[in-house]
Point group: C2
Chain length 80, copies 2
């Protein structure tokens, strides 16, 4: 399947990277993580259930994401 980064995940890759080695300290590895967990985490950021510090950065990136966007992004990271 297409291993190129989907446009929606491009922003994520800037910190989380595309090969599982985050470029930024304290940022979790997403490659191979469970898609259902990542979807729950993104919804938690979007709905303000994760706050403070880095959560604020995530909330900024996630605020306009639809459930469909979230699904696409987490599938990509789970498979890469």
């Amino acid at each position: 399947e297409d291993s190129a980064v989907p446009a929606k995940a491009a922003a994520c890759v800037s910190c989380h990277s595309a090969d599982g080695n985050p470029l930024v300290a304290g940022v979790p590895i997403l490659a191979g993580q469970r898609a259902d967990y990542m979807a729950m985490a993104l919804r938690a950021y979007r709905e303000g259930r994760r706050t403070g510090g880095p959560a604020g950065v995530m909330a900024f990136y996630v605020k306009d994401m639809s459930d469909q966007d979230i699904e696409e992004i987490v599938q990509w990271f789970a498979e890469h």
Copy 2:
């Protein structure tokens, strides 16, 4: 080094498992995750910066953890 589960991580293993394959859907894989990220996440649960749903379960487990406990647990998962 000793690969046995440290007592403090025993409760974690019941859902997250010790070999990287969580026993429970929606529960993140911790094996090999960044220790600094996991420590930040545990402090967020302990300090109530992650709320709702599964975060409530985590807050229950983390509420009496010291920073030292957290450090020991995240080091173990990062290395296993």
